[in-house]
């Protein structure tokens, strides 16, 4: 038990690895943030003074975050800005679309990326560090850092899956009735299909949804389960995107799967994708 606790502590608090997965999350998050909000903060829309300020902060901080310029500061700034968007404009001003689940997830992910050293890879910060190192004739700086921020991103995904599965453990959902409502509301109108196939299909889909969400909530932490669960999860979220009004939620979940992956494997994969020489995230010590 003590050994298990020590391993868990190391995994959550002390573990280090390549910073490329966090950098990829950073790069993916900003386009999602812009697709959701950039159109809302245009200055000619004559927003309220605080929305104007939050909007300008949004554009500036997320631009710096995307390009990886002063990334640590930019990430903290963007995280605080997104919290202001969610709590101030969403809750205090009562702009309801800002407090949907998909927007909440984007806000949390942005705040959490500030807890990772994502600027050490795939960033202008990295490029400048390389130039400085080359100028001095020194070794390339490491793409290496603590992984606890990345673990928190993964924890958020896991908590979300388990919470949403728990919420569905009701007779109304498991019987398929709630899915019947969803499909009728969006597609069928008040025209319940003839025969028993519709009820049976909805029940199968409902049970499968809960089973998959529970499996993802736990199984994504298990390396051996990931090759099966990640494609299933991606397919699941892809289907959700096409069939239900989930907005940025599906792509955000796809992106956050990176937080579960072995950073060394992601590092190698990026090397292979760009076709350059194989690099080491950390110098030999």
């Amino acid at each position: 038990m003590k050994r298990l606790a020590a391993r868990l502590f190391h995994f959550l608090v002390l573990d280090e690895g390549s910073t490329r997965p966090a950098a990829l999350v950073r790069l993916g998050l900003v386009p999602l943030l812009w697709s959701k909000w950039a159109g809302d903060f245009l200055q000619y829309l004559d927003p309220a003074p605080h929305v104007r300020v939050i909007g300008l902060s949004f554009y500036a901080s997320t631009t710096l975050l995307f390009f990886g310029v002063w990334t640590r500061v930019a990430a903290a700034w963007a995280g605080l800005t997104m919290l202001a968007v969610y709590y101030w404009i969403g809750h205090v001003d009562g702009k309801e679309p800002y407090v949907h689940h998909h927007t909440g997830l984007l806000v949390i992910a942005t705040a959490l990326i500030a807890l990772t050293p994502s600027g050490r890879s795939l960033s202008f910060d990295r490029w400048w560090a390389l130039r400085r190192a080359h100028g001095r004739g020194g070794a390339a700086p490491e793409e290496w850092g603590p992984l606890w921020g990345q673990r928190l991103l993964a924890l958020q995904v896991s908590v979300l899956y388990l919470a949403t599965a728990y919420d569905k453990l009701t007779p109304a959902f498991l019987s398929g009735a709630r899915l019947q409502h969803h499909f009728m509301y969006l597609y069928l109108g008040s025209n319940y299909p003839d025969g028993s196939w519709y009820a049976a299909l909805c029940q199968v889909l409902a049970v499968a949804t809960v089973a998959l969400e529970l499996a993802l909530g736990v199984g994504l932490w298990i390396p051996r389960a990931r090759p099966v669960l990640i494609p299933l999860g991606m397919l699941f979220h892809g289907i959700l995107f096409v069939t239900l009004p989930v907005s940025t939620f599906s792509l955000t979940m796809w992106l956050l799967y990176l937080a579960f992956l072995d950073p060394a494997a992601v590092h190698r994969f990026v090397d292979q994708m760009v076709g350059g020489p194989r690099t080491q995230p950390q110098a030999d010590r």
Binding site: L12, V13, L14, Y87, H91, V99, H101, G104, I108, L112, L115, P146, W148, R151, L152, L155, Q156, V159, L160, L162, A163, T164, Y166, D167, T170, P171, A172, S175, A177, R178, Q180, H181, H182, M184, Y185, L186, Y187, G189, S190, N191, Y192, L244
Partner: protein, 139 residues
Amino acid sequence: MPPSRTVVALRVLVIAAVGGFMIGGPVYEQGFGGRSKLLFHWMMFSGFGTEVCDVHYLEHAADGTLTEVDRYAVLGVPRSPSTARSVWKVKDLAAAEALGRKLCRALPEGTDLRLKARCATTKGWRSVARAADNLCVKP
């Protein structure tokens, strides 16, 4: 170089605070039924799709038999989402009764039209009309 004790302690504090916030939201709201604007919960689509009913209009014959009436055929509109929302997607009992009265006006005088309907709720289907009353009789 391993992190110093201070750094490790700070990390533990942040992880505990952020992790507690993440887990606390669902536990408080879903486990204990609390409501807080500060916390996040993940009860997604829990209230979605409740503005729809499964409606059947039935013609009641003198011998007591009930025959389904095709509302689209009676109103001469296509059975398609492009049809008026009040006909395609009936949101509640009041809307179902209003549609019934519209059907009465299109049907021959003296028709005994009944409504059988159940509407979506977060707890499942709820029966709201059981073909008990003639919609074509003005109250």
